[in-house]
Symmetry: D2
Subunit: 353 residues, 4 copies
């Protein structure tokens, strides 16, 4: 922490601030400057509450310096975290991009299977589909619940795709943990610290989406909640933030990808479907996400978006998904990364069953 004194602060005022700092168990380091004095604060008892000094006379401003994240930081672990899955060559955080595709909501077995078949053929290793949907309106379709989870479990068996789906609360967390391979915590729950802690006690990978107005620091601290409970497998996901701009549903902030990669060892992927809210923006922004260096993509695909029960407007058609995979494959190559080809046969079959 750094305390900046006013230009005309007296020697007494500086001394009083230093004494207060020391009395709180920290060390004060006054730095006299040409115009004003600043006082560095150090100590090993964790961050001081700035309120302790902000209103003292002669104080201009108190600036927080040290960052509060620990386990998510490259200071704690230098090499990239790679998340792998038994019985699959899908992964997040290594050379291969993790591509997640599927409908916004699981609407029926037919719909889900039709889409899963297409995204598996396109080369995806991960299938997404909502069974529990956080909807702005209580009157909107809220998902099929466990029925949807069961359909996805069948899809894993049939197509060898790993399953990613959202848990909304304690009840759904238990069920999702049972059925899915990766548990998604959605943007609206990014600071549902109670849910984060419970997710941290599980031993399944968590996909944590950035909150609608989360800073980089808050995003990493939300992940820190999960790691601090012992679950080190967290995949971050940028999905657009809320700004004044109204040509897209959210403003996709691709710069957070290199920013996260600089500070943290955790993988980060991008969701251009929620990030733009418009079908015709999904392909260009998918290309951009891979080009910026994302560790994967999460894309909504629907075989009949016009009749989708949620988010049809931002779902791409299966043919567009094929095109997307082809384009990002070439772009990934420029970054010496890889987008996998379709599995020649389902993982389960390969596993000899």
């Amino acid at each position: 922490m750094l305390v900046v004194m006013k230009a005309h602060a007296s020697q007494e005022q500086v001394r009083a601030v230093c004494e207060r700092i020391e009395s709180l168990g920290y060390r004060a380091h006054p730095i006299p400057g040409a115009q004003r004095t600043a006082i560095g604060v150090t100590g090993n008892k964790g961050a001081m509450e700035p309120g302790a000094l902000d209103e003292m006379s002669g104080v201009q401003e108190v600036i927080q310096v040290s960052k509060p994240y620990k386990l998510v930081s490259r200071d704690a672990k230098e090499e990239d975290t790679v998340i792998r899955f038994a019985g699959s060559d899908g992964s997040f955080g290594d050379r291969d991009l993790g591509v997640v595709a599927g409908p916004c909501s699981i609407e029926s077995r037919e719909q889900a299977f039709a889409i899963a078949e297409r995204v598996a053929k396109g080369g995806a290793r991960f299938f997404r589909g909502g069974a529990y949907k956080p909807r702005t309106s209580p009157y909107a379709f809220q998902g099929l619940g466990e029925e949807g989870l069961k359909i996805m479990a069948e899809i894993r068996d049939r197509f060898g795709l790993k399953i990613i789906t959202e848990a909304l609360d304690d009840e759904s967390l238990v069920l999702v943990a049972d059925y899915a391979d990766v548990i998604q915590i959605g943007a609206r729950n990014m600071q549902n610290f109670s849910l984060l802690k419970k997710a941290g006690r599980l031993r399944k990978p968590i996909m944590l989406k950035r909150g609608m107005s989360a800073t980089l620091e808050e995003f990493l601290m939300a992940a820190e909640y999960i790691l601090s409970e012992g679950n080190y497998e967290v995949i971050l996901c940028e999905r657009g933030v809320r700004t004044f701009a109204d040509h897209t549903r959210n403003t996709l902030d691709l710069s957070i990808v290199p920013a996260v990669q600089r500070l943290s060892h955790l993988p980060i992927i991008v969701d251009p479907s929620h990030g733009t809210g418009k079908r015709n923006k999904v392909l260009p922004l998918s290309r951009a996400a891979v080009a910026v260096g994302a560790d994967g993509l999460m894309v909504e695909v629907h075989n009949d978006p016009d009749h989708a029960l949620s988010d049809g407007m931002q779902s791409i058609f299966p043919d567009q998904f094929d095109e997307l995979m082809e384009e990002i494959r070439q772009i990934a190559a420029v970054l010496h990364r890889n987008v996998q080809r379709p599995q020649t046969q389902p993982a389960v079959a390969r596993a000899g069953r």
Copy 2:
């Protein structure tokens, strides 16, 4: 819903959009204009998913028109909702402003009692204090839990103050419902729909804080979740939104007060402590909140903010609270509203015990 066609859209394209609308069970009303045709969509089956039309050829834009809130709306209930409490003359939504004051966190019995005594003397009817704290860092003080709730229950008995405290999750919701008079749902949980539904099944007033980047519509829809489960006693609370501005912790959006009052019958109060994050802004913004027409205030007061375990920087001193009450009392009078004087004796005493 309104579908705006491109300037050069052909008659066929207009016809195809109309047919799609009708095929989905709605009625299409083409409006030929000088430059382009627009098509109104009506029907009584709820809002159409815009995705059904957005990408059809000839379509420029699809505009959502009807608002999704029902029970919270003045269409459903014209007169103001007033929330009253047995054994107290405190209320929200009538001529008397509801003033809530207390520390960010309950830290100890001594601290809480000392503050409660002062805010009761100042004229507050509601005492706030966090027992379960949503903290950005997992390593920060997380609240005393049930111990804190017990202290607040004692405060109710001793000072006749009604208790408002936050529930973070299912477990704390049950406990808070047991001890408190009003259950707070915090900004970070404004779209924790699962928690909202559970709060909707209780029969205690809920104070719902606006999310950090919630639009007016989302804010009202979050309240709709609670009402839709049968709990009609919701108090809304503006606490600042996140913007680029960095001179305050959040940007307090006072214009939402008249905006809510125009659309909804629910009371709305303002929290200038979180809304600014700075002690020296709390008094001016409290005055402004009352002047704009808020139904009450929620203010953090601490007897020793420099040693507060959370949010000391934005807590005012008890003497400042007295000054605040005096100022808002005079401003309320200009709006023909009232800020109550201290109770001559504790409510409990008055109740004859």
Copy 3:
């Protein structure tokens, strides 16, 4: 400036940064902490470019500490700046609030006179009206130009109101300086530094509106441009900033009023008409602006808003203006400030002509 080193930065890296700082003519003050070293930078040659250090190895972050404003700061001048006008008791920055009222645009002599008569009767001392209008569309009404300025000059003579109107560019600046009492620089030109410098060379008060996404620092620095050229009479004006919120045209940021008053000696007023963009929000937010401590208001008033050539939606009726003045008069009294009554006779008459 403060340079924060990485947790694992080596002694050499710290030394290299210190040497670079010294080689650039500044002094380096290393502060070894429990987890990492920070290095304070001082010197009297103005701020160092952070680029000089940001990318050196071992550096985590470079934090700018000193604020760049000088003349606008209370460090330079402690007491409030008060702006007065010959032949009028109107002012900005003292106990009397400066109330500016009038139409968005001057549309005709009749319209302008009709409105001026009403706002003078209501007690305003300043008349606003646009002669040069910055319009988003090149096809929209752009103002009457010099014709509009002449009408306003007549209004000054007839009603004793001081004239405030916007200059858009070099040409209009010269003309506006000729006719008006206060020259407005609009939000879109807040960082038109060339125009600011020219305004700084005039000896007429400047009303500087906050840019749509200007931080407090940028706002004060824009004023600094004017003062640095020798014109010390600047009135700041908050008029709402751009955020995600869509229930008002802009989000009025009232907290900037006390923030400016803390740092700067310049007066600051509030424009609730642009700040909300909605007629029904102007009165509540005007009350709030006075309650927060603003030094005045700027309000759009129109006698026939339905046929206004610009911004009719946010203009209030003359009767509403009377109501507004009555309400803010009472609120100002709570803050020991004053809203003047109508002049008994026009200033000109009083001046003996």
Copy 4:
């Protein structure tokens, strides 16, 4: 325009609104719905001011439908605008990407020549360099002025690079138009309508940067100002917008690239240097900009960023520029676009002089 009536609006209220619409010279088209009536408004006299209806009794909301841009729109011109330059194969808007590179400010002939030589070798066809700098502080380096323009003219002759530089005001516009090949209008001047009109009367291409908080519509309308004066050669440039996010200086909004390309025929390029403000983000975001489909890039390159007089923190080194060109060349190929190789000899030489 669409007028949405309240649910309980009476027949009379609907009729009164229709009559007002007709009396203003427009046609009213009532659309009775299940819950409420909406009224479409058409006419060929330009957009109606919403203020005319917004406050009538029974009116819930007035929604603007038609977009105000004309000449910039694909409705006016379907095929892409391509901007070419005599004596150069550089261009904007066709298959070849337009790459603009150079220092933030021209600091000296040596510095400018050293950088120009490197960017020409890297394959750039356009050289940028500021001679007139818009600086937040009046005390910061403001550019070399005409001296800087002369240096750039020499660079054109020596290296065959076309020159892009910013005009800040009337004076610099005249000079820049004299020396440069493309005139830049900066973000802070995007709504300096007076400057836009003057730029529209020139017959030189204009590079128009997006304002810090400009919507897509405002951005296109700013370009419309230029086209409406007869200058059809406008290159748009995304350079980041202002949001709450603090890990970059601005938030680069790449989604505006496909959004512009859908609505307008004008080329759009991306400036990742201002868009991120951090050197280590320039390469990833440059790749992303090309991948999203931008028609070019504008990048700051400095041979000695640590001693740059402005924006050193975001300038890349010449070696990084070579790397950037190599990477975007490969990504452009995926989109069937092209990044040119260095010219084998300077254009001037080729031209036979």
